[in-house]
Amino acid sequence: MIVVYIILRLVVWLVLAPLLPGIINKVKAWVAGRRGPPVLQLYYDLARLWRKGVVLSTLASPGFIAGPAVAWIALLAATQLLPLGSAGAALSFRGDVLLLIYLLALARFCTAWAAMETGSAFEGMGSAREVSYAVLSEAALITAVLTLSVHTGSITLVTMLAPAAGAGAVLLGAGLFVVLLAENCRVPFDDPNTHLELTMIHEAMILDHSGPPLAAILHGASMKLLLFALLLTEAVLPVGELSPLAAAGALAGGVLAVTVGVGLVESLLARFAFRRVPMLLTTGFLLCLFALLVAWKGGAA
């Protein structure tokens, strides 16, 4: 029974994740007045990539293939730690939130590592940028997690995400949204549609990947997007206190709202210049820090 349940969960995460980039692209197309690619475009892309062969550089070590694989598994494991409303998480123990943060870091490390395997200058540049943004966005994410843990007095994701974040919910939501945009390389930080190597970040890292490894990277990125959208929704809404049906509705609505929000941000905002990015990330960090202050002060008063 338990096995069936966990497999069902895995299937839900694996199947639903590629839907989000499709929705974002649809929103962008709608704002621009185009018809846009179909919502299921990423599924077609993944299927096509899976059938294709892999072009391997003679320089690359097995890490070139292992990197995306480990990153994908780490992200899949991270998603299983996240509770789905009142259904709870597939795997939950005291301190699992630390594992979540480390799994995300491991996925990032493996992508950057695989990117540098071929010795391409562009990929080294992309990895350097990705990792230097991550320093700031991880600080914001850790502060956000600390806020939730101070607010609920717990370090287990299931109990931390059950109630709403209290008075600081707006601050925390805004901070986590900035983190979401930065971690998933969305527009003010990186343009997922760009084809100019000098300005790419995430896309520059995966230039030399092809076939199934590229499919794993793309699918992992979409799972990460869904993970952050869920984290944001559950941090702000009291999902754990609703009835199962209402919780499922709230989760779906929240994730959809976040996705449409990302699409709108991408349509209405231009990419920031590199020197302005630390400013925005610092703002996100400060938003989370003030949410922490509110949680701490509110808890004591």
Partner: protein, 213 residues
């Protein structure tokens, strides 16, 4: 009274950071004016019964801080043709972090202060200290004269917040007098900025260190 007052002080604290982080002068001026208006309506919320003097002073505070002073400042900005702060002494990210650190320190510090029991739960004192610190950071860290004026205004807002603790003890006439001084001060600074611009072709205060004939 406490939740709505705390919300307004929280907004004022957020605007402090916005002013610290923004490089564009119109945005800084707008932040300062919104902060002035938020603080201007506070006496109305804090007073439980209607008092015509409080209402008049609140009205004038909002009018002066929200409209007259920003108008004077943005006219000076336009006349002097400065749009943004280019090379501040303290960069935007460091000053933002300083401001945030100051705000957190203010919240922590205000718990150690021997306050009246009715003021312990409110954010008035932390907000006042945070605004004063923000004002100092802007006064020290910015190179353009107009940004420094904005820093001075934030500093004054902090002092005004502190004065609200004594709203029942001090006559609001004092507040009205301060407001008048402030307006005249900004008016004079507006003229001076114009003169500096004509004499030096720049509003950078770093260039004002040498006397000229």
């Amino acid at each position: 009274m406490s939740p709505s007052v705390n919300l307004l002080v929280g907004v004022a604290m957020g605007l402090n950071l916005l002013a610290l982080g923004s490089g564009r002068l119109p945005a800084v001026i707008r932040a300062v004016s919104v902060q002035g208006m938020a603080l201007g309506v506070m006496p109305l919320i804090m007073e439980h019964h209607f008092d015509w003097l409080v209402t008049v002073v609140a009205f004038f505070t909002v009018a002066v801080k929200g409209f007259v002073i920003p108008h004077l400042l943005s006219r000076a900005t336009r006349a002097a043709n400065v749009e943004r702060e280019n090379q501040p002494f303290i960069g935007f990210v460091p000053s933002l972090l300083l401001g945030a650190g100051g705000t957190i320190a203010a919240v922590a510090l205000s718990r150690a202060l021997p306050l009246l029991p009715e003021h312990t739960g409110s954010l008035l004192v932390p907000g006042a200290i945070a605004s004063v610190l923000t004002g100092f950071v802007m006064l020290i860290g910015r190179a353009k004269a107009i940004s420094q004026v904005c820093g001075y205004l934030i500093l004054e807002n902090g002092i005004y917040l502190f004065g609200l603790l004594l709203i029942n003890a001090t006559p609001l006439l004092v507040e009205a007098g301060i407001l008048l001084d402030l307006t005249v001060g900004i008016f004079v600074i507006g003229i001076i900025v114009d003169r500096i611009q004509r004499a030096f072709d720049s509003l950078d205060t770093r260039k004002l260190t040498v006397l000229r004939e």
